[in-house]
Subunit: 225 residues, 2 copies
């Protein structure tokens, strides 16, 4: 972290560009003005602006596409490992602790999704449930689709914070994927399906129960591992 009184020019300019994005209400995917236009707007040199854009890219606020331009990122400000799990040495405890957190959050999130999901949300959840099931049946890696399934439920909860938290708490999924691939296949298929149908039926208690059961299977596995 760099304290504000020690900020150099590119760091100050990166703050100015964030203010510009907020003031202009630029949305994810929107294109920023090019380097020379930005430099003029901010009253700075082009090389300083280039440095500032690099800093913003490293924080995933903007995405630089070579030869195309600079865009507001899909989830601006959400970095790859936002809570620094890379720097936690004990990965087994980390996985167990993440599961402890999932028990607190995900049954209620599933209930909110059942109460609040719109038709399009339900379609997306069902599609991801199908795709995950297909990969599981074929014995292929389903990690990515599994995380997308849980994230789609998070989005359907209509709570602004949940979809941003989901990738964090779901970073436990890959930690245990080798185990789950072999042991949990049928349980994952069945509980995912039950969660999906409960949300589609707008049945909050059933969705919460199904998610709880899904997590119980995961916790049993961690105990045995």
């Amino acid at each position: 972290m760099i304290h504000s009184d020690e900020k150099n020019l590119p760091e100050k300019l990166s703050d100015d560009i964030v203010s510009y994005i907020l003031e202009e209400k630029l949305q994810p995917g929107d294109r920023l003005p090019n380097e020379s236009v930005l430099a003029e707007k901010l009253g700075a040199g082009r090389s300083s602006v280039r440095e500032a854009v690099k800093l913003l890219a490293s924080r995933n606020i903007v995405t630089v596409r070579q030869g195309s331009g600079t865009y507001v990122s899909a989830s601006p400000g959400v970095v790859e490992d936002p809570l620094g799990f890379t720097f936690i040495g004990d990965k087994r405890k980390l996985a167990a602790d993440l599961l402890e957190i999932r028990f607190l959050l995900e049954p209620s999130v599933a209930a909110w999704a059942a109460a609040r999901a719109e038709e399009e949300d339900i379609r997306r959840i069902r599609k991801l449930c199908d795709e995950t099931e297909q990969l599981l049946k074929e014995g292929k890696d389903h990690t990515k689709k599994d995380v997308e399934f849980h994230t789609a439920i998070g989005i359907s909860s209509k709570n602004l914070v949940v979809p941003r938290l989901m990738p964090v708490i779901n970073s436990a999924v890959p930690l245990f994927i080798d185990l789950t691939k072999n042991v949990l296949r049928q349980e994952t298929i069945d509980t995912h399906r039950e969660i999906t149908e409960a949300i589609a039926a707008h049945d909050a208690a059933r969705a919460s129960d199904a998610m709880y059961l899904h997590l119980v299977y995961n916790r049993r596995l961690i105990r045995e591992a």
Copy 2:
């Protein structure tokens, strides 16, 4: 975000420095080798290493102290606004949604703290409870101490993820501080004290109830606001 095949030299070097921190098991506060030593270790030029260190500082993995050196940050990889709340336009809904999440997490976290807190944890929680109460009685800004109080409870839960989540979910606190300062003073003093005493008595159910009540007061206030 910069895709790996498009990473330039400083970005690749910053990955190498992260690997070095992990391999050498450097801890928060540990000093990194100086620029020329790092440059030699990584087989790179000093100016590229300097750029790489700037990128790591912008992600709060290292802290640069002018004239002293480069150190591993206190919470490496945890950036100031890890979930990008800056970029959510509707701050009122954000505050309400954060409170919804706190209801799911904090009563259980208080219960875990009651079950797992050691003597030193209890001393720290009690000290922060006293300091927050003092500031409230004097009508001074208690935001920082309030967040520290909740974070100390999070640390006492002994769950590795909770202390990293706490600053995120507590970012709702400043959003409502002007309201709480005037209306919630006595309720905050009383419920903080009850939470503290329940944790000190290792009474999990009482700690969970007290935290729940604390959040109920907050939610009532948001409804009325």
